[in-house]
Amino acid sequence: MSEINSNTPMEKMTIGGDIYTAGNAMNFKTGDWRSSRPIFLSDKCKQCGLCFPVCPDNAIPVNKDQKREDFNYDYCKGCGVCAKTCPFGAIEMKEEGVE
């Protein structure tokens, strides 16, 4: 069902526009919206957790040990909220495509 796209004939589309695969927006990547890129400076990170909940796009993975990992750039839209929230300067914003 998740293969529905703009070439799908009407007979193969779900009726009423229902979707039976909850959470399938994960198949839709929003990373290409980004104009600036957050860089995770792990050596400065104190794992305080303040950046965990602020990401609108849930692009900061937190592992089972309750520690954050590097950004998930598939979804990060580059808003910079995390960088501005971090009290330790462990996230730096860089213009996308500029090394």
Binding site: S6, M10, M13, I15, G16, G17, D18, I19
Partner: protein, 397 residues
């Protein structure tokens, strides 16, 4: 064999609902359908049904709650009239587009304005293109029978569309007539249980309902609705066959009354058909070959069947109990004439807008229509196909 009773149309609809025992009823009072939620609330208060009655604060919320309930996986029903249906209008379209087989009892009344609480069909005509199956009922018996058949039609996998059962406000809804009810157990068995394939309350398969459906998809979803509406016709006939087996009462897409050998005929819906039958009988005694075609299934419109049934006539009059205010003719007139045209059947046809705001339509009025038809047959001339019946005008005799 059945239970003989004497009930009003509203009581008949409410009792049908009781026997169906829906999971949820959400309704808001409006004349002349108010009694339906009233009677139903009594059934709920006395434990005669398992239903959750949601006493909403408006008809918009009534239909919204029915949509929520039906999408959740339950059977939901409601009742309304006129402005109540107007307020629901937005949700009427959403109910059908979400393919939810909600059943609504529509007690037809004039839509404001000016305010009028009496019968015409302007409420139903306002939603005729909204993707609902629309069944019309001549009397309390038909209102009851149509309601009992409603879920079997609406919930059919090839259909999955909401359905409204129409009856005339006051004329049918408040008139007590003889009726034959079906035993509770038989109704239960006939209607069956509702097991939707996908529903919100299935935690094993969470679903999402009601998307933003953009240019790449809405057209196809609308076409799916249109296909379902086409499929409904056969389902309606199949269910009617089963219903006949249970009750002996026969239903089709429409009723033909002395139409076989008729030369002139009236096409109409709901209670006017009763008056028309009386007039047809009188005219037949005078040797006039008058007939009637009473539409039961207005949506889906039985295009080919209606055209064929009328093809042998010399003149027909289509009676619309709602004016389309389009300078062209009423909705039923348009549907019937268009059905004839596409089927290449050429019969002189005229339209009468009548009964607006509860204006009484007497046997004499109906007889005058047949007289006009006789004149058309004689002269082979139609001056004005878009006429009024029972309207006061300057220079009336």
């Amino acid at each position: 064999m059945g239970i003989r009773e004497r009930l009003s149309g509203n009581e008949a609809a409410a009792i049908a609902m009781k026997q169906i025992n829906p999971d949820v009823v959400a309704a808001f009072p409006i004349t002349p359908s108010t009694e339906i939620p009233q009677y139903f609330s009594t059934f709920v208060a006395n434990g005669a049904v398992d239903t959750e009655f949601v006493a909403v604060e408006s008809e918009h919320s009534a239909m919204s709650a029915c949509i929520g309930a039906e999408a959740a996986g339950s059977r939901a029903m409601t009742a309304t009239s006129a402005n109540g249906l107007s307020l629901m209008w937005e949700m009427i379209y959403i109910a059908s587009s979400l393919r939810l087989p909600i059943v609504l009892s529509l007690v037809n009344r004039a839509v404001s304005g000016p305010l009028n609480i009496h019968n015409d069909h302007s409420d139903a005509m306002g939603v005729r293109d909204a993707g609902w199956i629309m069944l019309f009922s001549e009397n309390n018996q038909e209102a009851y029978d149509n309601t009992l058949m409603a879920h079997r039609i609406a919930e059919n996998k090839n259909v999955l569309l909401p359905l409204m059962v129409c009856q005339d406000g006051f004329i049918t809804s408040h008139s007590i007539e003889n009726i034959e009810l079906v035993e509770d157990e038989k109704v239960k068995e006939f209607v069956g249980e509702y097991h939707p394939e996908h529903y919100l309350l299935n935690k094993e398969e969470p679903i999402a309902v009601g998307p933003l459906d953009l240019q790449s998809y809405l057209f196809e979803h609308k076409a799916q609705q249109a296909e379902a509406m086409k499929a409904a016709k056969q389902v309606i006939l199949d269910v009617a066959k089963d219903f006949e087996k249970m009750t002996g009462r026969k239903y089709g897409l429409f009723e033909e009354y002395k139409l076989d050998d008729a030369e002139i005929a009236i096409v109409c819906m709901n209670s006017t058909a009763g008056t028309t039958k009386f007039v047809v009988d009188n005219l037949r005694e005078k040797g006039i070959k008058a007939g009637l075609l009473k539409i039961r299934v207005f949506r889906p419109f039985p295009v080919d069947e209606v055209a064929n049934a009328l093809s042998h006539l010399k003149a027909i009059a289509i009676l619309d109990k709602a004016d389309s205010l389009n300078a062209a003719g009423g909705a039923l007139f348009e549907d019937v004439t268009s059905a004839m045209y596409v089927n290449n059947k050429h019969v002189p046809a005229i339209n009468y807008v009548y009964g607006i705001g509860g204006r009484d339509t007497k046997a004499d009025d109906i007889e005058s229509v047949y007289n006009d038809l006789l004149e058309i047959v004689k002269t082979n001339k139609i001056d004005n196909p878009y006429r009024y019946l029972g309207l006061r005008r300057e220079g009336d005799k």
